[in-house]
Symmetry: D2
Subunit: 112 residues, 4 copies
């Protein structure tokens, strides 16, 4: 079993033991991802880049795990193959960010 | 190679072809995750639960892929094993959300 | 003194008593707004529209106050007149959302 | 009429001309605030503090105006007096962040 399948299986078991699928419609899952992403950002709030790299690693693990967990639950809900959707997005980004224009540049594709 | 390793490898290649690692400090990666999470949420804005389940699947794939991509880049930056950090978080959540108290209930653990 | 000026004055006093202006660059203020917005969203997470309207009013007040506080600090930092920037945005939105096309419709202007 | 009342009146007029109140339940308004906050953050993404202070002022005005607009609509929905809720939050923050402990320090009150 792939890593992603194993993780997803554990997430679904945890969810179903608690009868939580009823709450996991797409909109609420998307909101949960956003909330966890904000908690991750809060670890770095007010800190400059140097201080940011000294943030407690355990806390980053916990908040990032939450973002990933809800993301994988949303992917599972729609039957997405996680590897496929990310590799597909990378391909689309190749068109938006051709190396000749994007190399070493942080601008959004609409500003390239 | 595991799925996650394969995806991460592709993400790093895309990043390095464009010399973008210089922009990918933890704080900016966390912000990127948040921004993409908001774009995902925007697909469901103003819609009720029924309409939300009719959102264009392709768009959900694209926005969720972006959230996952930056999340995996942040995990890679800190050398996290994605499966481990999520399974560890599930274990921590078992303590916060015992089945006896949490089953069928959507409250935050602080309100259980 | 207008309400906004009075509020801003109190926010600046609180900030300066604690010598916090040093942390309030635009990027960090924007991140703070995002984090507080997520805390506001968390009050409604997993709830349907009916349950959402029964959320503790005091908590909505507190989280919304935080979003507004950091927003006003960012506006003050750039010398924005809050009334002007909002009225100007309303005018811009009139063009994006003409009544003839937008009435009773929740689509984003790019989909009208 | 206070500034806030004037702004709110204009926002309500714009909303009602388009028959949009039907979409503006608290949960969706909170999500809208979050989405606009992310668009504000996107202006500073990948930029360091120096570059962040050179971001196009007009764009900051527009995105901040959106955050404030939805925030004022949510406040209006619940009949909040904006000045009161912010001044009340400042008072609560005095207790969480006493000057003796918080001066010159960016830590969250739970870490003071």
């Amino acid at each position: 079993m792939s890593d992603i399948s194993e993780i997803t299986k554990a997430l679904l078991k945890f969810r179903d033991e608690r009868d939580w699928a009823q709450f996991h419609d797409s909109k609420n899952l998307a909101t949960a991802i956003s909330i966890e992403a904000a908690e991750l950002n809060e670890l770095f709030l007010w800190k400059d880049v140097k201080e940011s790299e000294k943030v407690d690693i355990q806390k980053i693990k916990e908040e990032l795990a939450d973002v990933l967990a809800f993301s994988l639950l949303l992917a599972n809900k729609h039957g997405f193959d996680v590897k496929t959707i990310i590799l597909d997005k990378i391909e689309e980004n190749r068109r938006k960010y051709p190396i000749s224009k994007a190399k070493g540049v942080s601008k959004k594709y609409t500003d390239l």
